[in-house]
């Protein structure tokens, strides 16, 4: 049996415009928005970064535009990318290479590859070979969390990025400028949190696909514009007449790097699941609390990453608290169950999964797991699986 949910009402008016803008940015796989931004001033520079997290504040403080490169999604036809990767490697790097060799990343003046896995790591070397004229840097995030060790190392990495971007823009990253950037991103994170809170409270007001598109917009737009967009959306959506459906509340984990297609998110909702918390585009809100706006800003960024970031499969769980944090979060967002959805061949996510499953089992929290790829086009199986999961929880409170 399936308790079908009616489709969401299409947003109209200003709300509709915001969503349409976010959708068009999402579809902008040639990064035209970046080229347009640069065209306004010849000295402007854009720095592309791969998942999961880079401190965008540093790029911003150097006068650059940080741009998230989240893969080609289901909109990029892979013509040459497949010839760079074996079949058993996840999909994201092949679409990123496709974007590169087809010239769609030409508006980027540099690239940062955060240290999250061996694939992204080696992709940085491929970029060095394929784009020798660009700044390509493997951004090594610390796995030791003492301020005099990992912290010092991290600050040296931050300063190296700051130096490289400043050399392109001519704007040195002073402490003053960096503190200003931290403030600007704190405002963005407040807006993000407000939206997230609203979604937790009233998920029918914030459909997963819209939420996701808004997050993605933040990886392309200048930060002020994005903050304004979030605030306006959050206000307008509360005035809308969207009604609650008989859906279960689920939390998603495992989708922190290669992103699921938006159609998959809609499918999950149509199958009866409200997504009340997830790790999509997690780098956009990796540090949920405000970062210190006074004092040494470099240390503040280091402290934020080392002690106040969200758990991720790519960061060593030094305190052995991943399981507890997962369960706590399920309770906090009052999720009925968890969807462990990971990209195929994603080592960090898939190696994490047995530990997450164990934690959920022990806590008696229902979960189901499946794999996807950014270009998955068939959702029938996932729809049935999610539908059955939702039905079982509605009927029996468990699976």
């Amino acid at each position: 049996m399936s308790i079908a949910a009616p489709p969401q009402t299409q947003a109209t008016g200003r709300l509709g415009e915001i969503i349409a803008l976010a959708q068009s940015l999402y579809e902008d796989i040639a990064f035209k928005a970046v080229a347009d931004w640069k065209a306004k001033d010849k000295t402007r520079r854009a720095i592309g970064f791969l998942p999961v997290y880079v401190p965008r504040e540093v790029i911003h403080a150097a006068g650059g535009l940080p741009v998230g490169i989240m893969g080609g999604g289901d909109m990029t036809e892979i013509v040459r990318g497949d010839s760079y990767f074996q079949s058993y490697i996840c999909h994201l790097p092949r679409s990123v290479i496709e974007l590169l060799v087809s010239g769609r990343l030409d508006s980027m003046d540099g690239f940062l590859f955060p240290s999250i896995c061996d694939v992204i790591r080696n992709l940085s070397g491929m970029f060095k070979l394929l784009k020798p004229d660009r700044y390509v840097h493997y951004f090594d995030l610390p796995q030791n969390f003492r301020s005099n060790l990992g912290g010092t190392f991290y600050v040296s990495e931050l300063k190296s990025v700051a130096g490289a971007v400043s050399a392109m823009t001519g704007t040195p990253v002073t402490d003053e400028r960096l503190r200003e950037s931290i403030k600007v991103y704190n405002a963005n994170s407040r807006a993000m949190n407000a939206l997230l809170e609203l979604r937790i409270e009233k998920p029918w007001l914030v459909p997963a696909a819209e939420y996701y598109l808004l997050l993605r917009a933040g990886f392309l737009l200048p930060v002020d514009e994005h903050t304004a967009m979030l605030n306006e959306y959050t206000l307008l959506v509360q005035q809308s007449d969207r009604r609650a459906l008989d859906n279960i509340r689920v939390m998603v984990r495992g989708a922190f790097c290669e992103q699921p297609p938006v159609a998959l998110l809609r499918t999950l909702e149509r199958a009866g699941c409200y997504l009340v918390d997830d790790d999509f585009v997690v780098g956009s809100r990796f540090i949920p609390d405000p970062i210190a706006e006074t004092g040494n800003p470099w240390d503040a960024l280091a402290d934020a990453f080392m002690h106040h970031s969200l758990p991720a499969a790519s960061v060593y769980d030094e305190k052995h608290e991943k399981a507890k944090k997962l369960v706590d979060r399920v309770r906090e967002v009052r999720a009925d169950g968890v969807l462990l959805m990971a990209p195929s061949f994603c080592d960090p996510a898939l190696l994490d999964q047995p530990m997450l499953q164990e934690a959920l089992e022990q806590a008696g929290i229902p979960f189901t797991s499946f794999k996807y790829s950014e270009d998955t086009g068939q959702f029938q199986v996932i729809r049935e699986q999610a539908g059955t999961f939702a039905d079982a929880i509605k009927l029996w409170g468990t699976v």
Binding site: Y88, F113, I116, S124, F153
Partner: protein, 422 residues
């Protein structure tokens, strides 16, 4: 000559390994502490300093693979929720653990007293020990080794690693063992490491001769055994490499080719450089596909995962902690892709190889991601024959003998064709 592989050095190594596993099986009754850690960039001399006994899960996995056990182990791990997509070393290890943790000598391996997570060149190591931590009630100590993303070891990277060894690792190891760190002893052990490393380099570089007296991949994995694992810094390792060097000197003097499981290789027809790890479940069959065709591997990247000694690195007794840091950051899998290509290109030239071959293993993103670009670049730069085969380390489901054999045969034909063309 079926016993050919069992040179005196080979016997010596076997004895060393047997003794080590003997110590491990008695560890608890002898009151010795056991540390699980990984091969690339490991800190063997430091563990020796505290009389700690290392266990290397990758070595267990590969030995289980050679003994035909990993098919079952992997399936067991997959049944218990591990994805079919991930590294099979991890699953072989988890499966072995779930089957009683019986080591290669048939004795049960002791549980770890500490998991020393020094992860050079692979993120899976991090997840691997997070997973093992769920099974054992013991602490984990992390040594984060930064990657040579920009092709160099910077002062900041070095300070970071040195700082972690000094301020985190050493105090933890002191606490675990109840012994004080003995820097003089470390210097002495490092001298022995460097001595053995000299001989290993001599052995590996003997493949520059024609015919090569060694196979630097299939034979090479035996040669690197002691130095990559638990013996670096010991007298045993020094003796082993002296013995090995003596044997190779003799073979060189006699103009002999490499020893294979089927005897001395007669005619050296093809000289190949290989990138990527071997397959362990069908190791001999795989090797035979080469030696039966007269193909000898003259250099390989896999034999550099535990140190690029042939590029000049030696453990330096005058800078005991700094040298451990340099070592851990200098292994092959910690090189960025452009440097890996430069190195392979140099091997092809220096060893006068007819071509190069990539064995792309499904398990290992660290090695495999980017290998198709490596192939293209090397073909472009050297003009020599490039080959590409796919298998896995320890998952027998991914070793398709017929397919690999076909590909190799066409590959050797390609070399012939290039020769004829001049």
């Amino acid at each position: 000559m079926t016993t050919a592989i069992k040179d005196a050095s080979q016997d010596r190594q076997k004895t060393m390994i047997a003794e080590h596993f003997g110590k491990l099986s008695r560890a608890k009754e002898d009151g010795r502490k056991v540390v699980y850690t990984f091969v690339p960039g490991n800190l063997t001399e430091l563990l020796l300093n505290f009389d700690l006994l290392p266990v290397l899960p990758e070595i267990n996995a590969l030995q289980s693979g050679m003994r035909g056990k990993t098919g079952d182990y992997i399936q067991l791990a997959e049944k218990s929720g591990h994805s079919e997509d991930v590294c099979t070393y991890v699953k072989a290890d988890i499966g072995m653990l779930k089957s009683g943790n019986i080591g290669p000598t048939g004795e049960k391996l002791p549980d770890p007293d500490l998991l020393l997570l020094s992860y050079t060149g692979c993120f899976t190591f991090l997840k691997w020990f997070e997973l093992l931590r769920e099974e054992y009630d013991c602490p984990v100590v992390m040594l984060h080794v930064p990657y040579q993303g920009d092709g160099k070891i910077t002062g900041e990277m070095r300070d970071y690693v040195v700082g972690q060894i000094r301020d985190v690792l050493i105090p933890e190891l002191e606490k675990l063992s109840g012994k004080k760190f003995d820097e003089d002893r470390l210097r002495e052990d490092l001298k022995r490491s460097a001595k053995a490393e000299d001989d290993l380099v001599w052995v590996l570089e003997s493949a520059k001769h024609k015919p090569s007296p060694i196979d630097a991949y299939f034979g090479g994995v035996y040669y690197i055994g002691p130095i990559f694992t638990s013996f670096r810094g010991t007298e045993d390792a020094v003796d082993y490499y002296q013995l090995l060097r003596g044997e190779i000197e003799e073979r060189l003097a006699q103009g002999l080719g490499p020893i294979t499981p089927d005897g001395v290789m007669e005619e050296e027809k093809y000289r190949i450089v290989v990138e990527g790890p071997p397959n362990w479940t069908s190791f001999r069959e795989f090797w035979k596909m080469f030696h039966s065709e007269g193909a000898v591997v003259v250099a390989s990247s896999y034999t550099k995962v535990g140190g690029l000694y042939d590029r000049g690195f030696r453990h330096d007794p005058d800078d005991p902690i700094g040298t451990l840091a340099d070592y851990s950051m200098g292994c092959y899998t910690n090189l960025n892709l452009p440097d890996r290509i430069d190195l392979l290109e140099k091997y092809i030239t220096d060893y006068d190889a007819d071509g190069f071959l990539i064995n792309s293993v499904k398990s290992c993103n660290s090695f495999s991601a980017g290998q198709l670009l490596i192939l293209r670049e090397l073909e472009k730069r050297t003009g020599r024959a490039g080959g590409f085969i796919e298998s896995d380390l320890v998952d027998p489901r991914y070793f398709s003998a017929a397919n690999i054999k076909n590909r190799l045969e066409s590959y050797f034909q390609m070399i012939e064709a290039k020769r004829t063309k001049g």
